[in-house]
C-alpha cells in the first residue's frame, strides 16, 4: 500500500520485554498510517536509535532496567529530541502517572488498551495534542492536589522504609534526630497518614518509593 511517506508516523517502541516489543510491532505494522522504525529494550538504546533515525512518537515503558521511562523522557528533552513520548505501561500508580506527565509525556496508556485506542492516541500525540484516558486524568488531578515531597523527605522516607530509626537516619545524613523527626512528621502530613509504618505502605502503594531488589 504505497502511501505518501510524509504522512507516515514513525514510531519507536521501547520496552524491556521482548513479548511486548514483538506484539506491539506486529500490531502497529498492520496500520497503514504507522511505521515502526525500530524497537529498543532500554532507554540508552532508544536514545542511540533516535539519533540515527528520525522518530515521531516513542512508545515508552515506565519500568526498565537501566534508564527508566521518565528518565528517558528527561534525557530526550535535554538533548533536544523532537520525538513525542507516550507512556505505555502496566503501572497505574498515581505517582507513576504524575511523574511521567511532569517529565513531559504527551500520552499515558495502559497495555490492555485496544488497537483503536492506541492508534487514536498515537495520532493525537503526533498532532501535538495530549492523550490521557479519562480515569487516569482524574487520578492525575487528584495527585496534583497533593504537595510534593522534597528530595530530603524522599530520601528520609526511603530510609524509614528500610526500617532505620530516626537516630540512625540522623547519623547517616549528618543531621540531628529531631530534624529527622520533623521531616518524618512532614511526610506523614503530606501523605495524609497516621504513622510512619502507614507512610511507608502508602508510599509503596502510590509508587512514591520502590523497594529495591
Amino acid at each position: 500500500m504505497p502511501e505518501p511517506p510524509e504522512r507516515l508516523i514513525r514510531i519507536l517502541i521501547v520496552d524491556d520485554h521482548p513479548a511486548v516489543r514483538v506484539g506491539l510491532t506486529s500490531m502497529l505494522q498492520t496500520q497503514a498510517a504507522l511505521r515502526v522504525v525500530g524497537s529498543a529494550s532500554g532507554g540508552e538504546e532508544a536514545l542511540a536509535l533516535m539519533e540515527k533515525d528520525a522518530v515521531d512518537v516513542v512508545l515508552l515503558d515506565l519500568r526498565m532496567p537501566g534508564m527508566n521511562g521518565v528518565e528517558t523522557i528527561q534525557k530526550m528533552k535535554s538533548t533536544g529530541c523532537t520525538a513525542r513520548a507516550i507512556i505505555l505501561t502496566s503501572f497505574d500508580t498515581d505517582e507513576d502517572i504524575y511523574g511521567a506527565v511532569r517529565a513531559g509525556a504527551k500520552g499515558y496508556m495502559l497495555k490492555d488498551a485496544s488497537l483503536t485506542e492506541m492508534v487514536e492516541a498515537i495520532q493525537a500525540v503526533y498532532a501535538n495534542k495530549k492523550y490521557i484516558p479519562r480515569e487516569i486524568a482524574a487520578r492525575l488531578a487528584d495527585r496534583m492536589m497533593r504537595p510534593d515531597l522534597t528530595a530530603r523527605e524522599l530520601e528520609i522516607l526511603k530510609m524509614v522504609a528500610k526500617g532505620l530509626t530516626n537516630r540512625s537516619i540522623g547519623q547517616a545524613l549528618g543531621i540531628s534526630s529531631f530534624t529527622v523527626k520533623n521531616h518524618v512528621n512532614n511526610i506523614i502530613e503530606k501523605l495524609e497518614v497516621c504513622d510512619r509504618t502507614e507512610a511507608v505502605t502508602t508510599a509503596i502503594q502510590k509508587g512514591i518509593i520502590r523497594i529495591d531488589n
Binding site: H17, A19, V20, G23, K111, D112, L115, A138, V200, I211
Partner: protein, 734 residues
C-alpha cells in the same frame, strides 16, 4: 569507611556477648572449683534428706533424723561435698552400734578422693573411734591411700556402744587433728599428725567398719590456723582437774609435743583436796546450802561470773568483786545453792590460780540447749534473728528462732559495739556464750538465754533471705522493667515482621508485573495484529479472536489487580472495606455513580489470604457491575454476625441472566476464588432491577490476647457510634 564502621558496629554486640559469656563461664568455673563452695555445710539428715551423699558399701539409711549404717561390712563409706575443699573441719555426733566384731570402727573422713568400694579404698584422712575385742579402745587418726598409716591415742573413758561421741576432724595445711569427747563437757581425746607431702583437697565422708554406726549433726566448716591451734589447745588445756582418773589428760603419743599455751605451764596440777566437780553439786539436791570449793575456767565475767570445768558450769556470786578474765583458771569457795539444772555459788571467795586458754564452746542445737542439760555451759548455737532491742539495763537483747525453739541472746551494750546495727533481722547467726535458763534473763518468753561475752562471739552465717520486703520491691521493679523491655522488643519484632511481609508482597507484585503482565500484554498485541490481518469474511475466526482478546484483556486486568492487591495492605476488615471503596471510586471515576459503603457487626481480624480473596471477589463484582450493568449506584456492605462474615456488592443496573452453559470468565473466577476459602458465593440478578453478589464465609472465632484489644476497641466504637447513621463513609476520616 562506612562499611568498616558498620561492620564494627555489627560486631560490637556479638563480641560483647561473647565476652560476657566467657566471663560467666569463668565465673561458673571459679565458683565450681572454689575450695569454699558450699561451706559451711550442714547435713540435712534431720529434714530427711540425703541426696547429696554417695555411698560405697554399707546399708545407709536415714532414721530419726540421723544417718545410720546397720551393716557390719568392713569399709562402708558415705561421701559428700566438693572435691576442691581444702582446709576444713568436719564434726559430727557419732555412735557405735555394736562392739561384737574383732575390731569395730566408726568415724569421719576428709580430703577424700578416688573412692572405691572396699576397705581403705580411698585417698584421704580419717579418724575413727576404734575398739578391739579384749583391748582398750582408741581414737585413730590416719592417712589412707588405698592402704593406711595411722596414729592413735587411747580413748578414755572406754568406748561404749550405743552412746554418742562428738568427733571432730580438722585439716589445715599438712596438719591434721582429731578430737573425740564422750559428752560436750567431757575432756576431749586429741590426736594429731603432720603429714609431709600431704593430700591437699577432697570430699568429706563417714565410715564404719565391722560395726554399724549412727551419725548426726554433721557440720563442715572452713578451717583457719587459729581453728587448728584452738583444737590442739583443747588437748593442751584439758589438764583441768580430772574427776575420776588422773591419767585423764591424753594426747597423741606419736605426735610431736604440742606447744603449751602461755601461762598454763602448771598443766596437770592435781586438784585441790577440797574442790569438787561442778557437775556433782547439782546432784546433791537434798543437802541445802553448804560450803564447797570448785575449780574451773572462767567463761563469762559479766553480768555474772561463770566458771566451768569438765563436768559442768556454775554461776558464782562474788563476795568481793575482783577483776577476772575469760580463760582464767580459778578456785572459788562459797555457799552452793543447787537448782534444777545448774547451781549458784553464793558469797564466794574467788582466787585466780593461773591464766589458761579459754574453754572451747560446745556446739549444740537450740533444742539440745533448751533441755537445760547445758545450763551454765559455754555453748555454741545457731539461730535466725527475729528481733533486736535495747533493754533498759544497758544491754542488747536479740531474739532468735531455731526450728520450733526460740531463745534470746543478751550482751552488754559496751561489748556489743556496732553489732546492733550490723546484724540484720532474719540473718542466720552462730553465737557463743553461756546458756542460762534463769527467768531473769529469759523473761519466760524464751526457752533459754545465751549470755554472750563479746561481739566477736556473734558470727553471721547467712544474711537475711532474698524475699525481704526491699528485695521483693527491687525484684518487682526489675520485672516491670523487663516486661517493658520485652514489650518494646515485641513491638519492634512485630514491626519487622510487618515490614518483611510488605517487602515480600512488593517483591511478588514486581514479579507478577514484570513477567506475567508483560507477556499477557504482548500476547494481546499479537492477537490484535492477527485480527487486523484476518479477512473479514472469516466471521467465526473473528468471533473466536474476539473471545480470546477479551480473555487476554481480562487476564491483564487480573494481573494488574494482583499487583495492586499485593501493594496495598488489607490486614483488617476495615482495610478490606476501604480498599473495595477505593476500587469502586476508581472504576466509576468521571461518572455520576453513587457509592455507599457500610459495615455492621464486630468485624473480626482477617488473615491476609482471606482478606485478599474477599477483596478480589469484591473488585471483580464491582468491575462487572460498572462495565456491564451501567448502574446509578453501587453498594458495598460488610457484615459479621455469629462468625459469619458476609460481603455484599449491590447495584441497581440492568441485571443479567446467567447462561449456565457459558458463564463469563469473571464469574467463573469469582466462584473459584470463593471456593478456595470455602466461602459461599451467591449472585442474584433481576433484569432491569439490579444484581446482588453475596460472599459468605465462616470466620473462626479467635479470642486471643492479641485480638482482645481489637475486639474491645470495636465494641467501644460501636457503642460510641450507636444512634448515628449506620452508614459510614470510609473516606470521611481521610
Amino acid at each position: 569507611m562506612s562499611g568498616a564502621r558498620r561492620f564494627r558496629r555489627r560486631m560490637t554486640i556479638p563480641s560483647l556477648l561473647a565476652g560476657l559469656l566467657i566471663l560467666v563461664a569463668f565465673g561458673i568455673a571459679a565458683y565450681w572449683r572454689s575450695p569454699l563452695r558450699g561451706l559451711p555445710y550442714r547435713d540435712s539428715f534431720a529434714a530427711g534428706k540425703a541426696e547429696e551423699w554417695q555411698a560405697f558399701g554399707g546399708t545407709w539409711e536415714l532414721r530419726d533424723g540421723s544417718m545410720r549404717d546397720d551393716s557390719n561390712e568392713r569399709g562402708a563409706k558415705l561421701f559428700s561435698g566438693s572435691p576442691y575443699w581444702q582446709d576444713y573441719s568436719v564434726e559430727a555426733d557419732v555412735m557405735l552400734l555394736s562392739a561384737t566384731g574383732p575390731a569395730s570402727d566408726v568415724g569421719l573422713i576428709l580430703r577424700s578422693s578416688d573412692e572405691e568400694e572396699g576397705v581403705y579404698a580411698y585417698s584421704g584422712y580419717m579418724t575413727a573411734l576404734h575398739i578391739t575385742r579384749g583391748f582398750a579402745s582408741e581414737l585413730l587418726l590416719g592417712r589412707v591411700e588405698h592402704g593406711t598409716y595411722t596414729v592413735s591415742a587411747p580413748l578414755v573413758p572406754e568406748l561404749q556402744p550405743s552412746r554418742w561421741y562428738h568427733l571432730k576432724l580438722l585439716a589445715y595445711g599438712c596438719r591434721v587433728v582429731a578430737t573425740a569427747r564422750a559428752s560436750s563437757s567431757a575432756t576431749p581425746t586429741v590426736v594429731s599428725m603432720t603429714d609431709n607431702n600431704c593430700i591437699r583437697s577432697g570430699r568429706v565422708g563417714l565410715l564404719s567398719s565391722h560395726s554399724g554406726g549412727v551419725w548426726r549433726n554433721v557440720v563442715v566448716r572452713r578451717a583457719t590456723e587459729q581453728d587448728l591451734s584452738e583444737m590442739l589447745a583443747e588437748g593442751a588445756s584439758s589438764g583441768n582437774p580430772p574427776t575420776q582418773n588422773s591419767s585423764n589428760t591424753l594426747r597423741s603419743f606419736l605426735d610431736e609435743r604440742l606447744e603449751e599455751p602461755s601461762g598454763s605451764t602448771q598443766q596437770g596440777l592435781p586438784p585441790g583436796p577440797k574442790s569438787v566437780p561442778i557437775g556433782d553439786i547439782g546432784l546433791d539436791l537434798l543437802s541445802q546450802s553448804r560450803k564447797v570449793t570448785v575449780r574451773g575456767l572462767v567463761t563469762l565475767t559479766s553480768p555474772t561470773l561463770f566458771v566451768q570445768d569438765s563436768t559442768g558450769g556454775i554461776a558464782i556470786q562474788q563476795e568481793t568483786p575482783q577483776l577476772l578474765k575469760i580463760g582464767d583458771e580459778v578456785e572459788a569457795t562459797g555457799d552452793a545453792s543447787p537448782h534444777a539444772f545448774s547451781s549458784v555459788l553464793n558469797n564466794a571467795a574467788v582466787r585466780v590460780l593461773w591464766q589458761s586458754a579459754p574453754i572451747p564452746a560446745v556446739s549444740v542445737t537450740a533444742s539440745q540447749a533448751a533441755t537445760g542439760a547445758f545450763d551454765a555451759t559455754f555453748i555454741e548455737v545457731e539461730g535466725r534473728l527475729r528481733r533486736k532491742q535495747y533493754l533498759p539495763n544497758n544491754s542488747l537483747c536479740f531474739d532468735f528462732d531455731a526450728g520450733s525453739q526460740s531463745f534470746r541472746a543478751i550482751m552488754s551494750r559496751e561489748s556489743g559495739g556496732n553489732l546492733y546495727n550490723r546484724i540484720e533481722s532474719d540473718s542466720m547467726v552462730r553465737l557463743r556464750g553461756v546458756a542460762v535458763s534463769d527467768p531473769a534473763y529469759t523473761s519466760d518468753s524464751a526457752a533459754f538465754a545465751v549470755l554472750v561475752p563479746s561481739g566477736k562471739d556473734f558470727m553471721v552465717i547467712a544474711g537475711p533471705p532474698w524475699w525481704s520486703a526491699g528485695h521483693l520491691l527491687v525484684i518487682a521493679v526489675v520485672l516491670l522493667i523487663l516486661a517493658l523491655i520485652s514489650y518494646l522488643l515485641y513491638q519492634r519484632l512485630e514491626n519487622w515482621r510487618l515490614r518483611a511481609v510488605v517487602e515480600e508482597r512488593e517483591a511478588l507484585a514486581y514479579e507478577v508485573h514484570d513477567s506475567l503482565a508483560q507477556s499477557v500484554a504482548g500476547i494481546g498485541f499479537q492477537l490484535e495484529a492477527i485480527r487486523v490481518g484476518t479477512p473479514t469474511e472469516l466471521e467465526h475466526v473473528h468471533r473466536q479472536l474476539d473471545v480470546t482478546t477479551e480473555l487476554v484483556r481480562h487476564s491483564h486486568r487480573e494481573a494488574r489487580r494482583s499487583v495492586d492487591m499485593l501493594r496495598s495492605r488489607q490486614l483488617e476488615s476495615e482495610g478490606l472495606l476501604s480498599a473495595l471503596t477505593t476500587c469502586a471510586y476508581r472504576l466509576v471515576v468521571g461518572s455520576s455513580v453513587q457509592i455507599s459503603a457500610s459495615s455492621s457487626g464486630t468485624l473480626p481480624p482477617l488473615s491476609l489470604r482471606l482478606s485478599d480473596t474477599l477483596c478480589r471477589i469484591g473488585q471483580e463484582a464491582l468491575a462487572n457491575a460498572v462495565r456491564h450493568a451501567h448502574p446509578k449506584s453501587l453498594g458495598i456492605h460488610l457484615d459479621c454476625s455469629q462468625n459469619l462474615l458476609r460481603l455484599l456488592i449491590t447495584d441497581d443496573g440492568t441485571g443479567f441472566v446467567e447462561d449456565p452453559d457459558q458463564p463469563s470468565f469473571g464469574i467463573l473466577g469469582m466462584r473459584k476464588r470463593a471456593m478456595s476459602i470455602s466461602a459461599k458465593l451467591e449472585i442474584v440478578s433481576t433484569p432491569g432491577k439490579g444484581t446482588v453478589v453475596t460472599v459468605a464465609v465462616h470466620v473462626p472465632s479467635r479470642v486471643t490476647i492479641a485480638s482482645l484489644p481489637a475486639r474491645l476497641w470495636g465494641f467501644l466504637r460501636r457503642k460510641h457510634h450507636a444512634g448515628a447513621a449506620g452508614k459510614a463513609d470510609p473516606n470521611s476520616d481521610r
